[in-house]
Symmetry: C2
Subunit: 309 residues, 2 copies
C-alpha cells in the first residue's frame, strides 16, 4: 500500500536514484540496431526488439547498484504494438532482476476510466475465472488535473496490491510554471496539488512514514523542492531533471531528511546514453551506463552521506 519496497531497495543499494529507460531509437547503439534490423527489417518490430536488447543490457549492468528503473511509456508507444510488448517485457525483466519499476505513463482520467488504468498498471484484470497483470509495474506516474475521483482508483489499487503512484506536482520542464506556479487562494497550484496528494495518501502510509502517493517534483526547481519537503512530510518525491535537464545534486538535497530518505532522483539519457560521452565505443554501452550511475550515486550521496531506516 506504500512505497516501502522502493525505500528498502534504496537503503540496500545506498543509492536514491532511478534510471529512466527512455530508449529513443537514436540512443540505441548502432550494433544492436543493425543486428535487429537484419533479423526483423527496418520496422517497428525491428526497433522494438533493438530496444529490448538495449534495455536488457542496461538492467543487467545496473541491477546491483541502482534500486529502480523508470520506463517512459511514450518511447515504447511510439513503436506501436511491438513497442508496448517491449515495455511489458522490460517491466517483467527489471522486476525479475530485483529492480523496482516505476512506469512513467502520466495517466489520469475520470474515475470509472481511471480504474482501468489502475488495473492495467497497478493491479489485475479479471477475464472469466482468471486474473492477469497486464503491465507488472510497482508504481505509476499519475496526472491529477481531473481531481480526486480520477485519482482514487489508483490509491485503492495501491492499498489493495501494495503499489505506489507518483502524482505530478511540480514538473521539471521550463514551462511548468505557466499553470503550476499560479496562485489561487494564497497557494500556488503546485502546492494545491501537493496538498491534495498528501490527503490522498494519508490512509496508505507505510512503515517508514511515507505514503503510497508520492509526488513528482523537478530537480530543476530547488526552491519548490524545499517548500514542498516542509509542506509534505509524509510524501516521497520522484525527482526528474537531474543531469541532461540541468538539475544538480545540490539543488535537490532539500528533498532528503536527516535519515537520507525523502526522494529518488531520475536520470535517463545521462545514464543510458553515457557511452556517447566515452571513447570506449558503443559496445561497452552497459559499462558506460554503470560508470555513469556510480558517478551519479556518489554525486548525490556526497550530500546525503547515509540512508537509514
Amino acid at each position: 500500500m506504500s512505497l516501502d519496497l522502493l525505500i528498502e531497495k534504496i537503503v540496500k543499494t545506498q543509492n536514491p536514484s532511478v534510471v529512466g529507460l527512455d530508449p529513443a531509437v537514436d540512443l540505441i547503439p548502432g550494433f544492436i540496431r543493425k543486428k535487429s534490423y537484419a533479423k526483423h527489417g527496418e520496422t517497428l518490430k525491428g526497433a522494438a526488439r533493438a530496444v529490448w536488447e538495449f534495455n536488457k543490457g542496461l538492467i543487467d549492468a545496473l541491477c546491483e547498484i541502482v534500486p529502480a528503473v523508470k520506463p517512459q511509456s511514450a518511447f515504447y508507444e511510439a513503436l506501436g504494438v511491438e513497442g508496448v510488448k517491449t515495455l511489458c517485457k522490460t517491466c517483467e525483466y527489471a522486476k525479475k532482476r530485483g529492480m523496482y519499476v516505476i512506469l512513467d505513463g502520466k495517466r489520469g482520467d475520470v474515475g470509472s476510466t481511471a480504474s482501468w488504468y489502475a488495473s492495467a498498471y497497478l493491479g489485475t484484470v479479471k477475464i472469466g475465472e482468471n486474473e492477469y497483470e497486464p503491465f507488472p509495474a510497482d508504481a505509476l506516474t499519475v496526472n491529477a488535473y481531473l481531481g480526486s475521483d480520477g485519482v482514487k482508483p489508483f490509491i485503492e489499487a495501491c492499498g489493495k496490491y501494495d503499489r505506489g503512484v507518483f502524482v505530478l506536482v511540480k514538473t521539471s520542464n521550463p514551462s511548468s510554471g505557466e499553470l503550476q506556479d499560479k496562485t489561487a487562494d494564497g497557494r500556488a497550484v503546485y502546492e494545491i496539488m501537493g496538498d491534495m496528494c498528501a490527503e490522498w495518501g494519508k490512509n496508505i502510509i507505510g512503515k517508514y512514514g511515507y505514503s503510497g502517493a508520492g509526488a513528482v517534483v523537478g530537480a530543476t526547481y530547488p526552491e519548490q523542492i524545499a517548500r514542498l519537503r516542509k509542506r509534505l512530510p509524509n510524501t516521497f518525491f520522484l525527482i526528474p531533471g537531474y543531469g541532461a535537464q540541468g538539475g544538480k545534486a545540490e539543488d535537490l538535497a532539500a528533498a532528503f531528511g536527516k535519515d537520507g530518505l525523502g526522494g529518488v532522483v531520475n536520470s535517463s539519457r545521462g545514464i543510458i546514453a553515457a557511452y556517447k560521452n566515452e571513447r570506449r565505443g558503443e559496445r561497452d554501452y552497459a559499462g558506460a551506463a554503470y560508470r555513469s550511475a556510480v558517478h551519479m550515486r556518489d554525486d548525490i550521496m556526497k550530500r546525503i552521506h547515509k540512508i537509514t531506516i
Copy 2:
C-alpha cells in the same frame, strides 16, 4: 493542421456526436465473449479479440450516421499488449469505414517526451529509411498540466500531419472543480487552460474558423460551457458527459453557434451498451447502438436544427 475533417464529417452526417468505444469487458455481449474464449481461452487475448469483434460490429452499424469514434485507451491498455493491438486495429478500421478517430489517451509530458507521443498518435516514426504510423488516429486528447513546452510537439504534429488535439480544459467528472475551478489572477484554472489552448491553436486555424487545438469541456457543467464558448470563439469542443454521466442536450446547446458548429458530443455506454436497455437481446447489440445513436443525434439536433459550413 486543424479539425476541418471532423467538421466536414459532422456536416455530412448532420450529427455532432461521437461514440466512445469504451469496451469494458462486461459490456461485451456474452455470445461474443463466449466465442472468443472458446478459441483463445479466458485470457487477455481472448478478451482483446472479443473487443475487436464488438467494435467492428459497432463501427459497421454506426459509420453511416455517426461522424466519429473515440476509443478510450485505458480499456485497451487494461488488456495488455493484445488490447493495444485491438486499439490499433480499431483505429484503422474506423478510418477505413470513413469515421474520424479521436484517441482518448489524455497524454502529456515534458517537451522531448511529448514529441514521442505526438509521433505515436498523430504523426510518423522513422525507422532507418522507413516511416510508420504506430497508431493511426486523427486526433488525440491531451493533458496540459505541464504547460506549453509539453503541448508544442502535439501542435506541431497537428500542423505537419493535418491532425487535431483536444486539450483537457473543464472535465466532466464530479471533482473536476477541485483544481479547475480555483481562481488565480481573476481567472478560473479552467479559463487559464482555455486561454492557453486558444493561444496554442492560433496558428493552426482551419477553413471553418476553428483551430486544430480543441478543448475538452464536460456536458455536466453547462455554465462553464457557455462561458468558454464566449471566451474561445475559435476553439472546437469535445463534450463528454452526455447520457450515462448525466449531461443533457439542453445543457450543452451553448457550445454551438448559429451555424450549428462548435462541438462534438460524446456518449459511450449509452450507445455501445444500449442493448442492455432493450428487450431484443444481446445479439442485436449493433442495432441497439444504431437506434440509440439516432436518438442521441435527434435529441441534440432538436436544439441545433441544421449544421452548415
